[in-house]
Amino acid sequence: MKVLVCISHVPDTTSKINFVENDSKFDTAGVQYIINPNDEFGLTRAMWLKEKEVAEVDVINVGGVETEPTLRKALAIGADKAIRVNTEAIDATQVAKEIVAVIQNNSYDLIIAGRESIDYNGGMVPGMIAAMLDISYVNNCVGLEIDGDKATAIREIDGGKETVTTNFPLVIGGQKGLVEESDLKIPNMRGIMMARKKPLEVIEPNGAAASSTTIKFEKLVPKGEVKLVDADNVDQLIELLHNEAKVI
């Protein structure tokens, strides 16, 4: 089985979000980059496939040379090969088209992407890949079992879960639950050493067009001071929520 895990290179969850150049660019100064958490759950799930069955796991990112340390980390975790499509990521349509071109040349059986990145929160790359290739797709996936040519996946729905069966090739929009947080693999020294020797292929883009562009960023408006209510005066909180905030 050939597996492709799509890796988004995103600011660490604790990063301060600031913008530069007249609010047209994200300020990368002092920002640590990580594998997008939703992608990391998928990567670990792919590692389990590698341990249990014969699976070959590649990882892919669409981005500039600055994303290579993130791809190397994925190799250190255990991926066999990394692919970087050498172009700036503009929007989901463009990224999905570039990834589809790679899939078409490599016949992957399973493609795992996070349900969304934690920076742009678009949440559409996995679905777009499935639509362009006209193959099965399960989003918000919190469980995946494979039995021969059949896959059983659990999809989180609003207020519950849905269990579905389908065939391959298959695209998964993964998230926490696909594996547990405690199952995430931290690269060990041997993995890091081996990752240096593993292939990181840089391929040129096929020039896919974007359908949207971010033209400007805006920071949140700073909010006012908290109104403190005395612990002995819960009635006042109810009064404020009813008369001032008008939410109860």
């Binding site: 920076d119 679905g127 519950g160 269990t163 971010t214 949140l220 819960v234």
Partner: protein, 317 residues
């Protein structure tokens, strides 16, 4: 030219988000000088959409469970039939599942988490939240057809009585390779996605045996229950209740956090809530900087009193 909205339903009944996307669609249609058409699935009585500005409903009848591919194909064909140049969808799990497929089918640019009506029609520009609610972007859509995913509770319901006709629409058949084996859904509980009020508990509650406090407060307010990441990581509560950057987003009218310190990742996930209340015994907890109202105190004393006083309050209004 028209604005098409996908009005979601459950068990044949329109959901609140259906009226929210209709309200948003009407505002965009007014900007563009056109009408709003809604597409529904298996809704026998869609008249209520007329109260929110919809002038025509195209109802599709399908068998079986929700299927992203089949629904996306139906909406795509409805969009072509209606000559829609703007399609509006909600941020529900199902809408987020099917709309990327719809976007490819319509060769449309799709922008999610949109929080306001377009700031410009030409070029078509919308404001959306990004960096998990830590910032906004102004995003320009360049394709001929534009799809807008409206952020939950960002626009609200705007009544606008309109004469509304209802038609059956029969799209060409699509097949799907996905088979739904089972659906496990609590029907008696308010979901985090739909809730007006969310009550959330953190490590400060000391253990799962104390969750009756959260549940009782939630049931008093008709609220959904949620929890912080450490609580779900320790297995006190299911993952489906974890709200925050890597969990579920919350965009309720009122969010009450009890014993939650307010880590940056937690705050990111709940930032879209309109009013935030924190109850914590640590006055230094970061949540106090993000909240609108706060009580510094012991949750085990404050919450039972709050429940009792709220019950009395509810009884008199």
């Amino acid at each position: 030219m028209s604005v098409l909205v996908y009005a979601e339903s459950e068990g044949g009944q329109l959901k609140k988000v259906a009226f929210e996307v209709a309200s948003y669609g009407k505002a965009v249609a007014d900007q563009m000088g056109t009408e709003v058409i809604a597409v529904t699935f298996n809704v026998a009585d869609a008249d209520a959409l007329g109260n929110y500005g919809v002038s025509k409903v195209m109802n599709i009848t399908v068998d079986g469970n929700f299927d992203a591919k089949i629904y996306a194909s139906g909406i795509q064909q409805a969009a072509s039939e209606a000559a829609a140049t703007v399609v509006v969808v909600s941020s529900s799990a199902d809408s987020r599942y099917l709309t990327p497929l719809l976007a490819i089918g319509l060769e449309a640019g799709y922008v999610t988490n949109v929080v306001a009506t377009p700031s410009s029609l030409s070029p078509f520009t919308v404001k959306r939240s990004a960096f998990t609610n830590k910032a906004f972007t102004q995003t320009e859509i360049s394709s001929e057809i534009k799809i807008i995913g409206v952020s939950n509770n960002a626009f609200g319901l705007v009544e606008n009585t309109t004469a509304c006709t209802i038609e059956d629409f029969t799209p060409g058949i699509t097949t799907s390779a996905i088979t739904v084996e089972s659906v496990d859904k609590a029907t008696d509980k308010v979901t985090i996605a739909d809730a007006e009020v969310v009550v959330s508990g953190g490590r400060g509650l000391k253990g799962p045996e104390n969750w009756h406090l959260i549940e009782e407060l939630a049931s008093t307010l008709g609220a959904a229950t949620a929890c912080s990441k450490p609580v779900s990581d320790m297995g006190w509560r299911p993952h489906s209740e974890h709200v925050g950057q890597t969990g579920k987003p919350v965009a309720s009218n009122l969010y009450i956090a009890i014993g939650v310190s307010g880590a940056i990742q937690h705050l990111a996930g709940i930032n879209s809530s309109k009013v935030k209340v924190v109850i914590n015994n640590d006055p230094e907890a970061p949540f106090f900087k993000a909240a609108d109202y706060g009580i510094v105190g012991d949750a085990f004393e404050v919450v039972p009193e709050l429940i009792e006083k709220l019950k009395a309050f509810k009884a008199q209004v």
